[in-house]
């Protein structure tokens, strides 16, 4: 099975992942190789098998609804690329 150049571009768009035009072909080739590997999975009959999402089949734990964390905005924003007046700055979204 192979992945086309346009499918690679679609996935890159979905993931908001910039890839260089000159690299698209090599990604298509590598991903097609991975898909070949994955198609081996169809050799195994898995009808009636329950999908396994967690090694211990553990469910998410609940905790009491109490405040345990204090957000230190200044500390966290100190590592942000661009901040002003306590707000994260991004390019203008609404004209």
């Amino acid at each position: 099975m192979s992945l086309t150049v346009s499918e690679v571009k679609d996935c890159a768009h979905l993931a908001r992942l910039g890839i260089e035009e000159r690299d698209v072909g090599s990604y298509a080739k590598d991903l097609s190789g991975m898909l070949d590997l994955m198609t081996q999975m169809s050799d195994l009959d898995t009808d009636g098998v329950e999908p396994m999402a967690h090694p211990m089949d553990q469910v998410q734990r609940l905790r009491a609804d109490v405040v345990t964390e204090q957000v230190d905005r200044e500390k966290f924003q100190a590592i942000a690329p661009q901040v002003e007046a306590g707000l994260y700055l991004v390019p203008k979204v609404i004209e």
């Binding site: 992942l17 690299d23 081996q40 999975m41 195994l44 979204v93």
Partner: protein, 483 residues
């Protein structure tokens, strides 16, 4: 003194033979001397000396723990407050973590000294440490070969005595494979045993942190500090932590070892196979019995893993958006351009490959065929393990099909690189613990024996590894040039 174990160093620190400051300085000197290995991304010299001074004070008051004053290092995937935490990526090259991972906090509480942050494959995606933004790490046994990955910096640093011990993380073999290729002892605990809080996520249902040390006893000491329930990790398992050193001296008389025949088939290098067989013979001499077993679903572990891990990675790595922290591209035209270019410029090729694969496997129309199918196979693999481990106490086999390969040898062929994880990946899918123990050499390069146990049977694995290390000296060997 850099050849001593944690227990020996702890004794020396208490008897006044040397101070933690002296010990730490000796390691910092060695790190400088062997910078060409590229094992460290960041050396935290000032912090280390500060922690060493504090440790000496604590030792003087008699309130010290075994790890107090011991110079160790953290894989650069663990967040360390106030210290760069890069995860081997350009994306986080400017990231100064604002908090400590639980594992880091636990070592701090124990009074351990952090020498620095260790090199690794970018976001832990790789088997050779060649995907790191900071360049390849060299294997101290042969500097033309890779140390393995993704915890390659950890393995190289411990093997070269640039740290007494180190942390690693293992998603598909990333502790055990580099441990095997560098001739050290690496333990991947049961999923949920060690907190993942502050450990930068790659594939959350597979990732697990663990100790990388020279001996099994050191591994037990480190795990004692690392293990335990953590409220901050929703997948942490709430079970008591046993005393991992208590059972180290137990006899192996009557131990039942299973050898999965799938681990000894085609593709296994004959020198590695001979070394592993000799190691198993050694266990027989210690009183163990050996039977062949079968794990029929094992052959599908690699395909299932390369659906599940990239799928989880594509979701986890969506947080790197150039807005709140990490790399941001220059002059973004609009918000989409900001996301797309920041991610495009910040991530390396292997990470992009896995994000793309994961996005594809999770996209509409393919979700059932790939993702759900892989999760069903994961269940079958885990049932294989449960069945096998109800018949035998542990399983043994090789960690890797060959010894360390050359730098540059496989990086151009990702599929070939993935296939080299054949013996480690299934363990993560099942979630059971496994160890790599130095078992000898093939043509001058280290070989690792893998010991796989039942859920939460880390004490059993450590016991076997320790007993094996009482009758062998492979774990004591030092690479040439690092004596």
């Amino acid at each position: 003194m850099y050849n001593k174990t944690i227990a020996e160093l702890a004794k020396g620190l208490r008897s006044g033979e040397f101070s933690s400051v002296e010990l730490t300085s000796a390691f910092l000197d060695r790190i400088k001397q062997h910078r060409s290995l590229n094992a460290y991304i960041t050396v935290t010299e000032d912090l280390a000396l500060q922690q060493a001074k504090a440790a000496d004070l604590r030792l003087a008051t008699g309130e010290a723990e075994l790890l107090t004053g011991i110079p160790m290092a953290q894989k650069d995937i663990f967040c360390t407050e106030g210290v760069k935490t890069s995860c081997g990526s350009k994306m986080l090259d400017n990231f100064i973590a604002p908090y400590n991972a639980t594992v880091v906090a636990k070592f701090n509480d124990a009074g351990a000294v952090m020498l620095g942050k260790l090199n690794m494959d970018e976001f832990a995606m790789g088997s050779s440490n060649e995907t790191s933004y900071y360049g390849s790490v060299k294997n101290p046994w042969d500097t033309h070969t890779v140390p393995g990955g993704s915890s390659g910096g950890s393995a190289a640093a411990v093997a070269a005595r640039l740290a007494v011990c180190a942390t690693g993380t293992d998603t598909g073999g990333s502790i055990r494979q580099p441990a095997a290729l560098c001739g050290i002892t690496g333990l991947k605990p049961t999923y949920g045993r060690v907190s993942r809080y502050g450990m930068i996520a790659y594939a959350s249902s597979l990732d697990q942190g663990g100790p990388m040390t020279r001996s099994a006893e050191d591994s037990a000491i480190m795990l004692q500090t690392m293990a335990g329930f953590d409220d901050k990790d929703s997948t942490s398992v709430d079970l008591p932590v046993p005393d991992y050193r208590a059972g180290l001296s137990n006899s192996l008389e009557g131990l039942k070892i299973g050898l999965p025949k799938e681990f000894f088939g085609e593709g296994l290098n004959s020198d590695v196979a001979a070394t592993i067989e000799a190691a198993i013979d050694e266990c027989r001499k210690l009183g163990a019995t050996v039977t062949e077993i079968s794990m029929p679903s094992l052959k599908l572990a690699i395909p299932a893993y390369y659906v599940i891990a990239p799928a989880e990675c594509s979701a986890n790595l969506s947080r790197f958006d150039g807005v709140r922290f990490g790399y941001r591209c220059e002059n973004p035209a609009d918000l989409t351009d900001l996301y797309t270019r920041s991610r495009g410029e910040g991530f390396g090729k292997e990470v992009k490959r896995r994000i793309l694969m994961g996005t594809y496997a999770l996209s509409a129309g393919y979700y059932d065929a790939y993702y759900i199918k892989a999760q069903k196979i994961r269940r079958l693999i885990s049932e294989d393990f449960k069945r096998a481990l109800s018949e035998v106490d542990v399983m043994m086999g090789p960690v890797t099909p060959s010894t360390a390969f050359g730098i540059g040898e496989k990086i151009g062929n990702p599929i070939e690189m993935y296939l080299s994880d054949i013996y480690t990946i299934a363990i993560n899918l099942a979630g059971v613990p496994a160890m790599s123990v130095p078992a000898g050499f093939a043509k001058g390069l280290p070989v690792g024996l893998q010991i796989i146990g039942n859920y939460f049977a880390e004490d059993k694995l450590l016991n076997i590894a320790h007993q094996y290390q009482q009758v062998t000296d492979w774990h004591l060997r030092i690479p040439k040039g690092f004596e």
